[in-house]
Amino acid sequence: MRTYGTNRSNALNWFLHRITGTFLIFLLITHFWVQHYDAQTATVVAQTLSSEQIEQGVLPEYSSEARAAVKAKFGPDATVTPYDVVMLRLADPVYAVLWKGFNILFLIFALHHGFYGLNNILSDYIRNDMGRLVARVLSWSLALVLLVVGLYAVITAGWTY
């Protein structure tokens, strides 16, 4: 008779998958709200641009708070691009700690959640043990690379502002 279940416990990864999944709902909503809607954080885009307008280089019309904040920082002639608005928030010392911490948490949770799920799918479709091991090592290595790139991007964002 074949032996079943001789491998080590996978309870922790499964448990973390539930936890990260629950948190991701709130992290995503917060991210979306802050990044795209909240007037306090000065990033409200009052207008939706068509693809032709984007090709012509038309920039979105930001709220007066957002425009005032960017112009106060970069002078009255500064153009207000989405990039400027986001960088402005990340350059603010108080917000920076808050939002960088938030984004690092978001990054780690999303990577664990996504790559645990991806590994489940891979082990469903790859039948032999060697192939599964290779897929597991490759996918978690990719997750690690993305973590490093992501951490670098989040931590250094807004430094030059």
Partner: protein
């Protein structure tokens, strides 16, 4: 009424691939689906092979795919499968195990997995003078799971089982639940590591096919979720 009964036939000795055979079978609305197969075997084609024994939903030997869904042939009525005269009912073997002949599948691995979870009471304390007692409240925790007749409809409806032949599957893990949560059992330390493994619980993605297939209407996914929580708390 008269029904067209399509049966997935396969004879390994013929060397031919499986094919659909159609029979015209007289039936009453209150007949069981099993009686259609018996009619074919007794009156039309004696070579048709399928498993059955009790004909009353007790032995669990006649789970098969009926009109594309895993069901017990003896426990489903013709009136619930067709609208009327001239309609078609199809019978095929349970998907996910090798077919031996016609509707008979090879259950070797299904019962291997069953034995792998140690489906018996583990308790080394000296037995009391009379039986080990269990209160009605303690029994209520496992009552639903004790109704399982090991028909295999659930495990053979599970996409995780189809994808991974080593996956223990719902029937075996439901047994693990039934004994792990039995107030008289003390075998968690031996049984949990078997289901908390790459072959076990974590390949249950709560697809719920098993719950839909179970002829005993057992809430399998619910009990497997309880077993998952138990496995997590046992570790940390």
């Amino acid at each position: 009424m008269k029904l067209n009964v399509k049966v997935r036939r396969y004879d390994p000795e013929s060397g031919k691939p499986p094919y659909w055979a159609t029979y015209e079978v007289p039936a009453e609305p209150m007949d069981s689906a099993l009686s259609l197969l018996l009619h074919i075997k007794w009156h039309l084609d004696g070579t048709l092979t399928f498993r059955k024994s009790c004909a009353h939903g007790i032995c669990g030997s006649d789970a098969m795919q009926i009109n594309g869904e895993n069901k017990l042939a003896c426990s489903v009525l013709v009136q619930d499968l067709v609208k009327g005269d001239g309609d078609t009912i199809s019978f095929a073997p349970l998907p996910g195990s090798p077919v031996i002949k016609d509707l008979v599948i090879d259950q070797t691995r299904f019962f291997e997995k069953y034995r792998a979870v140690m489906p018996w009471l583990i308790n080394d304390t000296p037995p009391p003078e009379r039986e080990r007692l269990q209160s009605p409240e303690e029994h209520a925790i496992i009552e639903d799971a004790t109704k399982c007749i090991m028909c295999g409809a659930c495990t053979h409806s599970c996409p995780s089982t189809w994808a991974d032949p080593d996956y223990l599957g719902p029937a075996a893990m439901l047994k693990a639940y039934r004994y792990t949560f039995d107030s008289r059992d003390a075998g968690s330390a031996q049984r949990l590591p078997i289901v908390d493994s790459k072959d076990g619980l974590w390949k249950c993605y709560t697809i719920f096919n098993c719950v839909q297939a179970c002829p005993k209407e057992i809430d399998i996914t619910r009990w497997l979720s309880a077993l998952k929580r138990k496995a997590v708390t046992a570790q940390y």
